[in-house]
Amino acid sequence: MTSRRQFLKSSGALVIGFSLAPDLALPQASPARLPGSLNNNRMLDAWLRIDPNGSVTIFSGKIELGQGIGTALSQIAADELDLDLKRIAIVHGDTALTPDEGQTAGSLSVEQSGTALRFACAEAREILLSAAAAKLGTSPGALKVADGTIAAPGGASLTYWDLAGDAQLKREATGQAKPKPPAEHRWVGKSIARRDIPKKFTGGAAYVQDIRLPGMLFGRVVRPPSPDAELVSVNEAAVRGMRGVVALVRDGRFLAVAAEREEQAVRAREALKKAAVWKERASLPPAGDALYEHMMALPVARQTVTEKTSAASAPAVKSLEARYTRPYQAHGSIGPSCAVAQWQEGKLAIWTHSQGVFPLRADLAKVFGVEPAAVRCTHVEGAGCYGHNGADDVALDAALLARATGGRPVKLQWMREDEFMWEPYGSAMVMKLAGGLDSQGNIVGWSHELWSYPHSTRPGASAGVNLLAAQHLANPLLRQLPADVPQPAGGSDRNSIPLYELPNVKVVKHYIPEAPLRTSALRTLGGYANVFALESFMDELAAAAQANPVEFRLRHLKDPRARAVIEAAAQRAGWTRKAPGDGTRGRGFAFARYKNLACYCAIAADVTVDRKSGKVRVTRAVAAVDAGQVVNPDGVVNQIEGGLIQSASWTLKEALRFDRTRVTTRSWADYPILRFEEVPQVEVVILNQPNERFLGVGEGAQGPAAAAIANAIANATGVRLRSLPFTPARVKAALA
């Protein structure tokens, strides 16, 4: 294993030392708040290093997962340091090298890491300039920087690399250096091509699946056939004797094999599956509509999320109620989860596509009873994860198996069915909405009541271990009963509080911490279902008020940025007052500000409904987004477009299948997703706000997309669908 110190040494840098644990050095009095993740990683040299060879390395705790964060962060750093983009190298998510920024989640990477790097780099530039000024005998203000070369008025110059030894970055950031005004940005605001893409289309080593270490073995797991199955017996000898099999691990109901060749590991897995005898229990909730009744009947606390009353409001003359549902849905990564693990001299090295290498390290250390320092987790990209999928779990699987291989590294990849049967799903949810209109058709009352399982059971909790196999061991490690993510971001109740100006609002949640089917963060957490319900209900109220849905939304909104995205989407879509569709074609509209904190997004969707088959097609969608200052416009477009289409897939097609004992979704045949011929044309309008702070964009489109589709179907057919997904069978039944 390479330590950061060795890494820095071997890379030839003049270092500046290592200081990733500055908290120890801080005075007890709470220190001044620093921008973004600088607040938790306060030393400048934790964020960047000037290399004598003429490059600058930036360090981020946020990881690349195909969202282009490496490119966006480089743009920010290059601007603050006056560097050509090519000079910037980036190291992401490595417990030995980078700051701890928790999870790469919640659409927070640019907000947290980008902000930290912006201020750290601005301050580093000031330090470099003041060192240069002392050497050149001038004042920092008289100096000009071009691509790392600092020039004094008389023509004398120095470079950052000349100063690498003198400029002290081993110090706590002050957060006082002033970042560049937008007018001076050379890189931020441009659609710079992503740095991770070329290798992905030329067979480069781009993914954890592409890691090959000397002596590496291939591993596979055999999971129980159902969540609560107990292992009765297993004929290990039959598998141990198979050609190529090097190790077989059986610990409680955890089973895994390692073999010299990958196909041998796959074959051994099949044999081990056959050799295992299980006792299964019917521990799962009922499926279909009965699931929602089941959830609503569970004895859990009723918690008020928000309550606002106004005595002055007019009485309601019309009241509506509606219940919306969302099934369990899967992340469904195209590449099953994978990790490489190696044990050497009591130390564990893991290569992982986890979204949080530090939280993963914390849980692994607990499982193996070692200090976190004995575990190094290095992030390497995997297939897109869309939240908490099997990435962390497979890291523990690989580490458990690698303990039995005498120091040889193991690459363990799940099979397709492992992924579908064992990833933590997006929770099923029920949303009951009620509202009242006054005689003017304005909303005077609003109530949103929801039922949900957990949305965040990631590793790194203060107590317990949130890794799948830890629960399967002979001596299982306790899992903490997960708490809901608190407001204002919210978890189950994310986006349940309307942004609309309403006199009376009540939001109540029934959070169900005990989940018979493991659930965790799927893009947007509860936001997708809550926005689907909220924005569907807005349309139902608009219809009851005989109002145009766009005008109705604007009527209840003051926030100028919210209004602007609604107007922009309506304008680009060519929204008109034209009322119902012709029975088969319709248009719907929806809006949300993700988490009520991140980007604003409004979507207009056009659908066609085949009344005979019940098949719905989204033909075109227009999204308008305000993400504050935009670092990489094409990156924003890609996130919004991808999120919108992924949401169309969730909305039209996706529901996990299970019976009372087993998850029965095993392959893509059991879990259809949107295909090329079903994908809508998408246009994205960006409302750039160069003087505003960054607003996360990765989860902005999903909620509004679902509601816009539901509203478009209602517009086309006059029939309101409230139960996701809108499969042909369900649509056909509703139209009958």
């Binding site: 969202q67 030329t202 196909e263 397709r416 094409d634 893509w668």
Partner: protein, 154 residues
């Protein structure tokens, strides 16, 4: 074990593997290629697609004993220094997020452009309909194939 002699990206490879070994594992682990990906092992997603004798096949379900022609993978199309027009177009259109499915998209597009040098958007969608993309880069992928087709015609 059986001995196989296979042309991979213009190089002759002699391999001793079991006859039922999926071509995918041989390409990844014996030949050392990264392009073809394991996605489902069931021929459902397309991430493992390679060309055998110019035709796209799902290498995850193709046993070595069934490989009857020269194999081309994405590495065989071009390199970082000398990109194939399809690779260049996918990069220029920024036609992915995670990119895990990208190998299959490029390889099936290659086969499509061989038989139809000027496909319409609809024809491209049809040709790629058996490939899954979860990040939802579909529209970018279609544009990339159109861009490559245009460059290859000129």
């Amino acid at each position: 074990m059986a001995k196989f002699s296979v042309w991979v990206n213009g190089e002759r490879k002699t391999l001793s593997v079991d006859a039922d070994t999926p071509l995918l594992y041989v390409l990844r682990n014996d030949v050392g290629l990264n392009g073809p990906k394991f996605g489902c092992g069931l021929a459902q997603c397309g991430a493992c697609t390679v060309l055998v004798g110019g035709k796209p096949v799902r290498s995850c379900v193709t046993p070595m004993s069934a490989v009857k022609g020269p194999v081309t993978t994405i590495e065989g199309l071009g390199t970082l220094d000398k990109l194939h027009p399809l690779q260049r177009a996918f990069i220029e259109e920024q036609a992915c997020q995670c990119g895990y499915c990208g190998n299959g998209m490029v390889m099936s597009a290659k086969a499509l452009l061989e038989r139809n040098p000027a496909p319409t958007a609809g024809q491209i969608r049809r040709a790629l309909n058996g490939h899954l993309c979860r990040c939802a880069s579909h529209n970018r992928i279609v544009r990339a194939v159109q861009r490559a087709a245009k460059e290859m015609r000129s």
